[in-house]
């Protein structure tokens, strides 16, 4: 079985600060990590590999330094790493990013694609499902448990208030939650292999290595424009009312709306 795991290198903080002048992320002094949901996805792939046997390929799109995240993935046990890196990819929004990644995946053999649910720096949760759309394969989001049964995958999908058990024929794409598992540690020997064994060296694919229409990628090919980024002002604590009846509750809401001149 061939499993492809898509990972993103992100700043190691859930409290990313924005430069108030430029509206961009302040990355200086913040160490980079594998996005937590993606790391859980990688661990899920490695567990399937341990249990059933599989080749695990990790793919990332990003600047050359994103290779560090791929090296970490190989040091955890991934068999192959591919970095999609080219100036032409720079500035891509989620749609352009998923276009590039899906184009690259078309060059690979895959039975299962795993991505994280969302990245802690962008929080869109769009790239995984978009890749599935580009490839025309089913997508199961928010996986909390993954099992293999013949040529089917059985996924426990977590919604806010319920679980769905979904059986799906391979190939398909799964987006993983960080709650899925506790990712394993790297081993010292694998770290050295990741950096020193040429067979494990990251393959870097630029725009000429990927069959993609260059008009739909990068900053110019991105339909999304970020109008403004800002740090959210902290909200004041709300008031909690405990009405006894629905009528009373409705009255409180109407009063408040009139108070604010909304009604």
């Amino acid at each position: 079985m061939n499993i492809v795991v898509c990972i993103k290198q992100v700043p190691d903080t859930t409290e990313v600060k924005l430069d108030p002048k430029t509206g961009t992320l302040i990355r200086e002094g913040v160490p980079s990590i594998i996005n937590p949901d993606d790391k859980a996805g990688l661990e899920a792939a490695l567990r399937l590999k341990d249990q059933y046997g599989a080749k695990v390929t990790v793919v990332s799109m990003g600047p050359p330094q994103a290779d560090a995240a791929l090296k970490e993935a190989v040091a955890m046990g991934a068999d192959q790493a591919i970095l999609l890196s080219d100036r032409a990819f720079g500035g891509s929004d989620t749609w352009a990013t998923s276009t590039v990644i899906a184009s690259a995946l078309k060059k690979l053999d895959y039975d299962l694609i795993i991505t994280g649910r969302q990245a802690i720096d962008g929080d869109t949760a769009q790239v995984g499902p978009q890749i599935a759309e580009h490839l025309g394969i089913p997508n199961i989001s928010y996986a909390e448990d993954i099992k293999l049964e013949g040529d089917h995958i059985i996924v426990k999908r977590k919604y806010e208030d319920r679980y769905h058990i979904i059986k799906c024929k391979l190939p398909c794409l799964i987006t993983a939650l960080s709650e899925l598992n506790v990712p394993r540690y790297m081993t010292p020997g694998r770290i050295f292999d990741a950096y020193r064994n040429e067979e494990l060296a990251t393959k870097v694919w630029g725009v000429n290595d990927v069959p993609v229409d260059t008009t739909v990628i990068g900053l110019k090919g991105s339909p999304t424009n970020v109008f403004k980024s800002f740090t959210k002002a902290p909200k004041a604590a709300g008031n909690v009312y405990k009405p006894d009846t629905a009528e009373e509750a409705a009255q409180i809401i109407v009063d408040k709306l009139q108070e604010k001149f909304i009604l």
């Binding site: 970490e72 040091a75 540690y185 010292p188 020997g189 050295f192 990741a194 950096y195």
Partner: protein, 379 residues
């Protein structure tokens, strides 16, 4: 000259830091208080290959280098001196002696399971009357047919009771003095071999330091490590490597105390302001940090020299001397800066101060380190 760790060493350092913080630090206080050997942590380290870092993959090791091992020792030492010494004696002394002096067959039979996480190792040199004067060995080994028969005892043996295999030194020819010492591989389950009661120590209380007793312990002559009479050299060479590991443990202890005290002085207020605003605090921290950085340079450079195959006796002695005395200085100042709280067992600096002291003593005292260093100058 480049003082930056390579990317692979940096990633390994991240791994060890994360492991130390998540797996080792949470147990450090409890295992010290109860003098409990952290068997669960040792099992985790075995599984992750942490107990075979500098050795070749063909012997079950990780195929990394001494610098990587030192980075692990530093991170373990930063949170738990006991856990660090368990790993160090296993890696530097037991595996080190086997790797340096073992035959191919011995390496496959003993070094491989020690490196691949199957076994834990120990090293028995010290005796009641042979400490720094290691040549004064009383344990005897006599060849009887195809077997050596060992009689005698060892004391203060780290990993005793938990090790699966011991490298043991014994006299095969008393008339030859240090040239009459030989090294042997003794599996823990050999009849006649037993482990005495645990010694009660000041620090590194979660590691064991028991007596080993040999009563007509018969081992096959294939378990002679190196040639007969070459045991002293095997021990000294292993200890050269071991001293770099102890130096890294000491460096970690110093860094751990410094990290703790920095957090404390920012929080603790006296006379209406944090302790960090007092010049005495600032100057003390500056002295601590400078010594820690100097120790780090000595320790890393000794490890790199080891990896490059340079002679390391003096470099290892310098690293151990300075790092261990730095550990004692820094942990002592950390307790002083924290005052009464620093003296309480609730805070880790008290444990670190007790743990630091032994680094000036074991695997060669500071006095022996000074003899090694000055001996090189005056020869």
């Amino acid at each position: 000259m480049n003082f930056t760790l390579s990317k692979e060493h940096q990633l390994a350092q991240n791994l060890f830091r994360e492991f130390a913080d998540k797996e080792v630090a949470p147990l450090a206080h409890e295992i010290d208080e109860t003098e409990r050997f952290p068997v669960e942590t040792v099992e985790k380290m075995k599984k992750l290959g942490f107990l075979g870092i500098p050795y070749k993959k063909e012997y079950g090791g990780q195929g990394c280098d001494d610098l990587t091992y030192v980075l692990m020792m530093e991170q373990l030492g930063r949170v738990c001196g006991s856990t660090a010494i368990i790993a160090s004696v296993h890696t530097s002394l037991c595996c080190g002696a086997l790797n340096n002096a073992g035959t191919e067959e011995q390496k496959q039979k003993y070094l491989r399971p020690l490196c691949d996480g199957t076994w834990l190792g120990a090293f028995g040199l010290t005796e009641p009357s042979a400490g720094t004067d290691a040549a004064g060995q009383c344990t005897r080994a006599v060849l009887d047919g195809d077997e050596y028969v060992l009689n005698g005892s060892k004391i203060f043996i780290t990993n005793s009771g938990w090790a699966d295999v011991y490298v043991i030194f014994a006299m095969t020819d008393k008339s030859q003095g240090s040239r009459g010492i030989s090294a042997f591989i003794v599996p823990a389950n050999t009849p006649g071999f037993s482990v005495g009661k645990p010694e009660l120590k000041m620090g590194i209380r979660a590691s064991t330091a028991c007596e080993l007793i040999f009563e007509n312990v018969r081992i096959p002559k294939e378990n002679l490590l190196g040639k007969e009479g070459k045991g002293f050299g095997i021990a000294m060479k292993a200890l050269d490597g071991g001293r770099i590991g102890i130096a890294a443990q000491a460096l970690g202890l110093a860094q751990g105390a410094l990290d703790n005290v920095i957090a404390y002085v920012k929080e603790r207020k006296q006379f209406g302001k944090p302790l960090s605003k007092l010049q005495n605090t600032q100057f003390t921290l500056a002295d601590m940090e400078t010594r820690v950085q100097a120790a780090r340079l000595l320790v890393y450079s000794a490890a790199v020299a080891y990896d490059q195959g340079q002679p390391i006796s003096v470099k290892a002695a310098q690293a151990k001397l300075f790092a261990s005395e730095t550990a004692s200085y820094v942990t002592n100042r950390a307790v002083q800066l924290m005052g009464g709280y620093g003296y309480m067992r609730e805070y880790p600096v008290e444990r670190m101060m007790r743990d630091a002291k032994i680094t000036e003593i074991y695997e060669g005292t500071s006095e022996v380190m000074r003899m090694v260093i000055s001996g090189q100058l005056l020869k």
